[in-house]
């Protein structure tokens, strides 16, 4: 194509009407082929000008978006002139997930739309199949996890037999029973996830609640937590209890991955699209191999974990429309990053 146009450009001054017409027909023919190709594509293609106005959209773009592309794009707030990639969930006319990419091309921006519903459904099915297998592993997991608290209770009851007024033993029994209760609850929530009950709020609230819960443990192990929270933090749609559970899982992991006197850095930030939380620990870190299986059930790297915490955390964050990722190097600690869409954006996308 490029050679053809260059040839025409070079000789256009020397061409008579007959030849010009011939070349014009060739161009028109090529153009029609491009149009047909655009029409035939299953993926949506939209050309935007420098102001984000729609220049051209293929039929697939309209079908995938379920409405006039210009109207649809207006609700999406796509970045113009930069590369970006996002996934959106639409519920009209049917539930589906679309991957939307923007690709800058000279002055224009190309919007590329792909239906990823089937892929998502497959992931969900795989997860469900995995969960069925997980139930079989459950007995082993529970047995392993409840060993320590049962041991502690058993020892302390023997202490109480020696001295029934031993206050400390009573307290340890109580706290270990609470721990058993927590373990059971975690397994139940892994088996039967509750839909999040979303209300507007900031992620700083559940984070602070969680740090309060862990305060004694942090102090006892002399772990320094540095909190970096911007003065004004945009709201997100969240289920406070579930998000607190995610923080709890991540912080517990961080604690278990480090020696006494370690450091945890928590940084909250926001841009015009998302609110992010980065939790960085000074722990043992992980290999690439461990990282690649991180969010799978029963893939614990810890000697004493259930292997469910991160799977549950990921599911909770995904159901909040967000994402969770981890970066790590052996010996250099691990950083978890949670990204949640800002409230306004989520409302727009859910429309």
């Amino acid at each position: 194509m490029k050679d053809f146009f260059n040839g025409v450009r070079k000789h256009i001054g020397k061409l008579d009407a007959e030849h010009l017409r011939e070349q014009y027909e060739l161009v028109a023919d090529e153009f029609a082929k491009c149009e047909r190709l655009l029409h035939a594509l299953k993926e949506g293609i939209i050309r935007l000008d420098a102001n984000g106005e729609v220049l051209q959209a293929n039929p697939a773009a309209k079908t995938l978006l379920g409405m006039n592309p210009a109207d649809a794009l207006q609700t999406m707030d796509l970045p113009i002139g930069v590369s970006s990639r996002r996934e959106i969930s639409l519920s009209y006319p049917e539930d589906r997930t679309l991957e939307i990419q923007t690709i800058p091309l000279d002055e224009e921006t190309i919007v590329y739309i792909r239906d990823t519903t089937a892929e998502h459904r497959r992931t969900e099915e795989e997860l469900r199949a995995g969960a069925t297998k997980a139930v079989c592993d459950l007995a082993a997991g529970v047995a392993h996890e409840i060993g320590n608290p049962l041991n502690a209770i058993s020892l302390n009851i023997q202490m109480l037999e020696r001295d029934p007024t031993d206050r400390e033993s009573i307290d340890i029994c109580k706290s270990q029973i609470r721990r058993l209760d927590g373990i059971i609850r975690e397994f139940l929530s892994a088996l039967k996830p509750a839909r999040p009950n979303l209300t507007p709020g900031t992620i700083a609230e559940p984070l602070k609640e969680c740090l309060d819960t862990l305060r004694n443990q942090l102090e006892e192990r002399r772990i320094t937590v540095t909190l970096d929270i911007p003065a004004s933090l945009p709201s997100v749609a969240l289920d406070k209890n579930q998000i607190e559970q995610v923080f709890f899982n991540l912080l517990k992991n961080a604690l278990e991955a480090m020696k006494d006197g370690g450091r945890i850095g928590i940084t909250l930030s926001a841009d015009d699209r998302d609110v992010s939380v980065a939790i960085q620990d000074s722990g043992f870190g992980m290999s690439d191999e461990q990282l690649s299986h991180l969010f799978e059930p029963y893939r614990t790297n810890k000697e004493k974990g259930t292997g469910l915490g991160l799977m549950i955390s990921k599911r909770i964050i995904t159901e909040h429309g967000g994402s969770i990722a981890a970066a790590s190097k052996p010996g250099e600690g691990t950083t978890f990053t949670i990204i949640l869409p800002r409230l306004e954006r989520r409302i727009r996308e859910l429309k």
């Binding site: 320590n148 502690a152 020892l155 340890i172 480090m258 020696k259 043992f284 000697e303 004493k304």
Partner: protein, 78 residues
């Protein structure tokens, strides 16, 4: 004098319960991980016994015992 023992477990409730359990008959030291346990081993050459958890974050209990033995033998030679 009571014999001196060292209890190593990353689980605080277990560690402290064991410490209280042996407290009456032994002089008990505790450590939450292998590294701090080894420090105590070196500082206390009169240590009579180590009771350790095997699965702990960081170095495990078996490796701790091996190193403790090495430390004790090299202390004897000096």
């Amino acid at each position: 004098m009571k014999p001196k023992i060292l209890i190593v477990d990353d689980e605080k409730p277990l560690r402290e319960t064991l410490a209280r359990w042996f407290h009456a008959t032994y002089d008990t030291l505790t450590a939450p991980d292998a590294e701090s346990a080894l420090k105590l081993v070196r500082e206390n050459p009169d240590l009579a016994l180590i009771i350790t958890d095997v699965r702990m974050p960081g170095e495990d209990g078996v490796s701790l015992l091996r190193k403790a033995k090495e430390a004790k033998e090299s202390a004897k030679q000096n």
